[in-house]
């Protein structure tokens, strides 16, 4: 293990030498470009890069893939904040509070906060990755069905806090979210449920089309039918109140939350197969639960931008671990990274960690570089992006509509997805118009699947005597967290009740 610092330095110089540095930089810029379009992502770029890099050396290939695998995820938050269009599914958790901020003229603050949270979150994730490398297998293996189940339950508890204000409406939309999460094959046997005989529904309702409709299209309808002239209500850029300094400052003001969200992101990243959407939603949920009385989550609380973005980018560092150590990728992106590694003779496992450590670190550095580069460019462009909120809506609305349609179709070239977007757009608009909360719906929709599947697996394994709660420390920690969250929520509710009584 004492080769670690040396390998880190060697890896650093692999990345930051000429012309090597070009690969991650070009990869990042390309990924930034495509991530504006919902549906397209770095994944597609990586798939296209596989045949391209067949004849390349291992080093440049790994640098390119390191940059593509997690780079530019922050860009998706820019469209989420500005237009309610999540660039990638994980960014959907950012729009709950990011977009209201933009409407209040604070887009600059929100974008800067998202950029800073992304950069620091990814740094945190990578730091943990490096520190944990030796302990990794134990950590990955300590998460089984029971732990996933408790994690999903913890996230679902947040419905109570995001529904604050109108609990009955919140519970109703959450119930609907859980129901719609059940569309598709049942997780145990694979029998189709609620698919109305439509093939495209066999894999369930796609997260991206649902989000695009529920938020982006609903917003576009609202903008087009409302009386606002611009997104922020301001006519001139000079009237916008947000600032980059405020956004970055927010990250340091809520440093504890940054650490907590990054931890959530890293842990979820390390566990193969859960993914960034769950990471950012659980982080958002956790942030909103502990916001206390002064929180105004869902109406433009900067913490609602910070938490999911930090978690989403912290996840990338974590998600590399299972690939390097086990050769088991947790996402499509890391699966492609794995394929590229194998083609170039890098076989995951103890040997890779012993003999190719500098190259492993080069991938890690490339990922870090990519995250920082995206964030710095994001900071630099925050003002310019914020100006879009003073653009006349009659110009903006057709452009956004085009973006949504293109995004829906580019997802998998399925016209049906566009239909879903329209359907959920109308539904989302109705919810917004009549003041029903959408966050409980989305949290239930995102976590419902994970919850149901892991419940089935856990029950089977308990039946066969393979899971014993008191032999599983991670499960016990999660159970304590759940109990504490419930207790905290009850205490809060009681205090509010007393205040009202007086």
């Amino acid at each position: 293990m004492n080769d670690f610092p040396e390998a880190m330095a060697a890896g650093f110089w692999i990345v930051f030498s000429w012309p090597n540095i070009l690969y991650p930089v070009i990869g990042t810029l390309l990924a930034m470009l495509v991530s504006f379009l919902p549906g397209l992502s770095g994944i597609m770029l990586m798939a296209l890069a596989i045949p391209l890099t067949l004849s390349w050396d291992a080093e440049p290939t790994m640098l390119l893939f390191g940059a593509l695998v997690g780079g530019a995820t922050f860009m998706g938050s820019v469209t989420a904040i500005l237009f309610n269009i999540p660039g990638t599914a994980p960014n959907a958790a950012t729009l709950f509070d990011g977009h209201p901020l933009a409407q209040q003229g604070e887009a600059k603050t929100a974008i800067a906060c998202s950029a800073a949270a992304s950069a620091l979150g990814s740094t945190f994730g990578i730091l943990v990755l490096v520190l944990l490398l030796p302990l990794l297998s134990a950590l990955v293996l300590s998460f089984g069905p029971l732990e996933f189940l408790l994690l999903a339950l913890w996230g679902l508890l947040a419905i109570a806090s995001v529904a604050r204000g109108s609990m009955s409406r919140g519970l109703a939309t959450a119930g609907l979210g859980l129901l719609l999460a059940m569309v598709g094959r049942d997780p145990r046997v694979g029998d189709p449920r609620f698919t109305l005989g439509i093939d495209q529904l066999l894999d369930g309702l796609g997260v991206v089309p649902v989000f695009l409709g529920l938020f982006a299209l609903a917003e576009i309808i609202d903008l087009a039918s409302g009386s606002r002239k611009t997104l922020s209500g301001q006519q001139r850029a000079s009237e916008l109140t947000g600032s980059v300094r405020l956004g970055i400052g927010a990250v340091f003001r809520h440093f504890g939350l940054l650490l907590r969200s990054s931890t959530i992101g890293t842990v979820i990243g390390v566990i193969p197969g859960i993914g960034g959407t769950v990471a950012s939603f659980v982080a958002y949920a956790s942030a909103s639960q502990t916001a206390g009385a002064d929180g105004h989550f869902g109406r433009g609380d900067i913490r609602g931008v910070l938490a999911p973005e930090a978690a989403n980018d912290a996840k990338d560092g974590g998600s590399l671990l299972p690939v390097f150590v086990f050769g088991i990728p947790g996402s499509e992106g890391t699966a492609l990274l794995l394929a590229a590694m194998l083609i170039h003779g890098l076989v995951p496992g103890p040997e890779l960690m012993a003999e190719q450590l500098p190259l492993v670190f080069a991938v890690i550095w490339a990922l870090l570089l990519s995250n920082w580069l995206t964030s710095l460019l994001g900071l630099a462009g925050a003002g310019l992006c914020a100006r879009l909120t003073v653009l006349p809506l009659r110009l903006l609305v057709p452009f956004l509509l085009g973006l949504v349609i293109l995004g829906a179709l580019s997802l998998r070239g399925e016209f049906f997805d566009l239909l879903l977007v329209v359907l959920f757009g109308l539904f989302g608009y109705a919810l917004k118009r009549f003041d029903w909360p959408r966050a409980p719906f989305v949290i239930a929709f995102v976590l419902g699947n994970l919850f149901e599947r892991q419940l089935h697996l856990t029950l089977q394994l308990v039946d066969y005597g393979r899971i014993r709660f008191f032999e599983r420390p991670v499960a016990m920690v999660l159970a304590v967290l759940i109990a504490a969250t419930v207790a905290w929520g009850l205490a809060q509710a009681r205090r509010r009740y007393r205040v009202r009584e007086r």
Binding site: I43, M44, M46, A47, I50, P51, L54, L141, G144, P145, R185, P187, R188, V189, G190, D191, D199, Q200, L202, D203, P272, G273, F326, G327, I328, P329, G330, S331, E332, G333, T334, A335, L336, A339, L342, I343, H344, G345, V347, P348, G349, P350, E351, R412, G413, R453, H456, L457, Q460, L461, Y464, R466, I467
Partner: protein
């Protein structure tokens, strides 16, 4: 016959007249594709082996045909949507792709509706490789040998990790536990290949039946070890397989076990051969059914040459796919037929297993 295929035939005929007399009709049929764009359908998303192998094959096949190949991922319903798209495309050589024949047969057995038949709905052009399953268990599992598994006591059943009921993980586990009289249970509900692997590495379950080359990495890194080769001859010359018993054939454990249970070894052997064929047949390269014969012939040649090209073989074998036997297109087609016929033999067993899992 559709307009397009008539056009192709016409073009082919014209080309045949104009071509130098030595060129065969088959070669000229493919010349009509030169400069064209061929849609290549992958029924799974990027990040999986189907997508990966297609992208590695893309270059060599483009060079063979002089055509542009555009890979399109038509995902959904466990590969069914992509397979249907390929089945329903025009058979003019401009839409080709890869289908999971084992998966399609499995889906049909599981009672899925409108499943394309690998035997009747496609023109088989070749196959990527033969898939042969091994049973793997965790390195420190109490099951040291296959005998330990066969002797599992009634109060501690052997647990198998399975994904959907049409998955080969499930088909293999279900058929073998019935034929070998195992005290086995299936833990169902895993999302797919990644999840079942983790389940057995974590030790939630005891055994996973999976293609040897897909699990090689975990075997080589010492997390998993093979217990049984689902084959009649050694799957590969790999140190981890030395001393690992075979299932069928003269040295196979099946005959003795079935005999010991008082079963009919011949009937059992038929079932097991059907299983081996069904597991082997994944990753079939195909075009829609009804491809003109000369076009079929030249596409088969082109695919075979691309599969044999050093560019493809090097990239695929470095990524851990064992390519020991470049099969002739005829052999590929025969295997698809065998697998489809075998599925009928296995149907009653699988039906019982489905019912057990559904209850």
């Amino acid at each position: 016959m559709s307009n397009v295929s008539r056009r192709v035939l016409l073009q082919a005929a014209t080309a045949a007249v104009l071509a130098p007399p030595l060129a065969s009709a088959a070669e000229t049929a493919c010349e009509a594709l030169a400069g064209e764009t061929i849609r290549w359908i992958v029924p799974y998303s990027p990040g999986g082996s189907y997508d990966f192998l297609s992208r590695v094959l893309e270059g060599p096949l483009e060079r063979e045909l002089g055509a542009e190949i555009a890979i399109g991922n038509r995902t959904g319903a466990g590969g069914l949507i992509g397979a249907r798209t390929l089945r329903d495309a025009r058979s003019d050589g401009r839409t080709l792709g890869i289908v999971n024949s084992s998966g399609l047969i499995g889906a049909a057995l599981a009672g899925e509706q409108d499943v394309p038949s690998p035997d009747g709905d496609f023109t088989v052009l070749g196959r990527m490789m033969l898939i042969r399953h091994v049973w793997v268990t965790r390195a420190d599992s109490p099951y040291r040998t296959i005998e330990d598994v066969l002797a599992a006591p009634p109060d501690r059943p052997v647990l198998f990790a399975v994904a959907g009921v049409g998955s080969t993980f499930f088909i293999s586990a279900a058929v073998l536990s019935e034929v070998l009289g195992l005290n086995a249970r299936f833990v169902a509900g895993h999302t797919g290949g990644k999840a079942v692997r983790l389940a057995v590495i974590r030790g939630d379950v005891d055994i996973l039946s999976i293609g040897f080359s897909s699990i090689l990495k975990q075997i080589e890194s010492g997390q998993l070890r093979p217990l049984l080769q689902i084959a009649d001859t050694p799957i590969a010359d790999h140190p981890s397989l030395r001393g690992v018993p075979l299932l069928t054939g003269p040295q196979g454990i099946a005959a003795e076990r079935v005999h010991g249970l008082g079963g009919d070894p011949k009937a059992a052997a038929r079932k097991l051969d059907a299983l081996v064929a069904l597991l082997a047949v994944g990753r079939t390269l195909a075009a829609p059914a009804g491809l003109p014969p000369d076009l079929t012939a030249c596409l088969r040649d082109a695919v075979a040459r691309a599969l044999a090209s050093p560019a493809f073989r090097e990239a695929a074998s470095r990524a851990g796919f064992s390519l020991s036997d470049p099969a002739s297109p005829d052999a590929a087609m025969r295997l698809v037929r065998e697998a489809a016929a075998g599925a009928r033999i296995l149907q009653p067993i699988l039906k019982r297993a489905f019912e057990e899992i559904r209850s």
